[in-house]
Symmetry: C2
Subunit: 408 residues, 2 copies
Amino acid sequence: MEGEPTLRLRIFNLNCWAIRYLSKRRQQRVRLIGDTLRQEGFDLVLLQEVWSEQDYSELKVKLAGSYPFSHYFRSGVIGSGLCVFSRFPILDTLLYQYSLNGYPYMLQHGDWFCGKSVGLGLDGFAGIRAPLLSPSLQLHAEYCRDKDAYLPHRLVQAWELAQFIRHTSKAADVVLLGGDLNMHPEDVGIRLLRGWTGLQDAFAEAMHFEGCKNGCTLVPDNCFTDKSELLPFPLGIRIDYILYKAISSFTVKCEELKTTTGRAPGMDIPFSDHEAVMATLHIQRQGQPAGATLGTADPALADVVTEARAEVGAGLRAARRQRYSSGRMAVLALLLLLLQAAAALATLAGLGAEQPFPKLSFCLLAFLALGALVLAAGLHLFHTMEVKMLHGTEDQMWMVLRALQERP
Amino acid sequence: MEGEPTLRLRIFNLNCWAIRYLSKRRQQRVRLIGDTLRQEGFDLVLLQEVWSEQDYSELKVKLAGSYPFSHYFRSGVIGSGLCVFSRFPILDTLLYQYSLNGYPYMLQHGDWFCGKSVGLGLDGFAGIRAPLLSPSLQLHAEYCRDKDAYLPHRLVQAWELAQFIRHTSKAADVVLLGGDLNMHPEDVGIRLLRGWTGLQDAFAEAMHFEGCKNGCTLVPDNCFTDKSELLPFPLGIRIDYILYKAISSFTVKCEELKTTTGRAPGMDIPFSDHEAVMATLHIQRQGQPAGATLGTADPALADVVTEARAEVGAGLRAARRQRYSSGRMAVLALLLLLLQAAAALATLAGLGAEQPFPKLSFCLLAFLALGALVLAAGLHLFHTMEVKMLHGTEDQMWMVLRALQERP
């Protein structure tokens, strides 16, 4: 069916690093991003880390002419930071918040407050009757590769993302996913996501590539990147992706993939501390269904799920230990408070009246015990939730493994 | 195509009210539920409020013969309380947690801690090639009908549930939903859910009905119901539902609907404080697609969405007020602490040394100010999230309204 029209779709993906008061030269960069997007006229723009709704509103006003449709996904305390601009109508949206997203007490990492999530926009593209699914997402950041306490959380997120894609894209023609996944291409989370959804990596499939070596999106040439983070990777790392997949009677090919190279084209500063990823896809209708199902029959998939499940299991054991120790601390703090109450009552009853009662230190100790109790109880609550979610994911993975093994 | 085989599907739905240490005669009732389910041999059993995983495990062991497939959905601090038992394979599961679920500080209501959610199980039924979707859910409880502070939260949940069903069931043949929705049949949340998904109410459609008058599931005859809750409704209320819909080339008919009537059949105690709902559905394949789309073309739908959006808007304004007042309280507490620090420094510097420094009251005041600061900051954080989610829902509803109005 060579006669069917081909849709040429140009996609722009960028982690904008636009945190109010914290990101360097944010306003200048957001203006630059807006100007570039207006000039370049992409079809679909997926932005992450647009934390300020004001930045989104400014972009929306500036881009109203070239991208008449847009959506900002609201969640968490700060927001999801996700937004989509599109030349084609966004017909419907859905936000899925990951069940695990770091620890609220790790204030310096801040992930918990962002409500990281995957935003699903249903686009109706010209010439193609069926909807196009375009989630954009950001998984939990990796702060230390060697001792990565967040790995189980990131795997739960990768799993939930894969499940979400599988369940929501059954009637779609094409699935598009763009975002900062915070994982290297060979990491178990990426292998799990790709294996379980069958998504293809635009970088690996591109007929023509132009940009940073190996498609890296965090590079030392970028003046905003944290150089210490890149010490083990002198060439940079690739953590921003555009993934795609044809589901029904369509084929998708990646004609070209580009990344920026440490600065915005023709400017002296970069868009962000991440490089932008730009893909040109060819979407064509075929005479008969392409036959691609959502679950790939890759025999290596069972190994990947087994590997991921082992990591989640390790995280589960750690979470159980933390739940136990925070529970013990809460009980100890409660005992101390009860002891103090008994001592105070004894003093009131006139026992030990010959000695002066040390009011101030008593008060301070009670203060300390109460603080410890509240803190430990909160931690216990949090780790209880963590155990539930890790356990639930382990269960789901087991169910999938069983199904994979039963398959001929 | 009269020759196509008909699947007769018997469904059991019950809010089990099985809270450890709190629910009356829990163990006896769970045993009774298990025995009945084993004897009756339903095809699909949807249970809510099975808060203890041990109860689930006991049921699972007891029901292994008649219901070889089961799943327990884990979430929140206590769990989701949702579980499914099935005679047909459960192929895959997905849990969606509502973004808003009451207030963590309303300890007596407890909803926040349960992580209320919708569980999605994909069932493969005999004779029907395509998967069957069976979410079970429980929406936020209604504690006071006249002054219902939770109404916006419940509407956000109803909306998210409807959106979740629309997005996940596009390739399904039949959608089944069973659960305690905590809403009366004529409430705006139910009208929104049914209007936006096109789900049909088994009670309204049943060819034969047997049970409590008007299909009520919280009735005064049940010895465990809270009689004060039912004072305005002497006949009882209907808040537990079985809803269904055929999507592709299938038709679904409800042959029979039954409820228990204040006690378990042949016993002197009820299964729970809710009545069980039992439906017998006929699912038949048709020659050609039934043509039912997920969005119904009901002209009243726009009115329902408008009504719901107004309620969510009222909730949004209330949440903004609460965010503002908790923020102001936090600032005041911080000012008090700073003032105290200044006073302490002044004393240390020797100012006002002629008067004795009131150490104890100073300490107590600092304690109070710190407590108020932590509390107010926590509330501020929470209401900020609430504002984001209500605002996001309002936006989504607006998008849908625009699309509904543009439709011919």
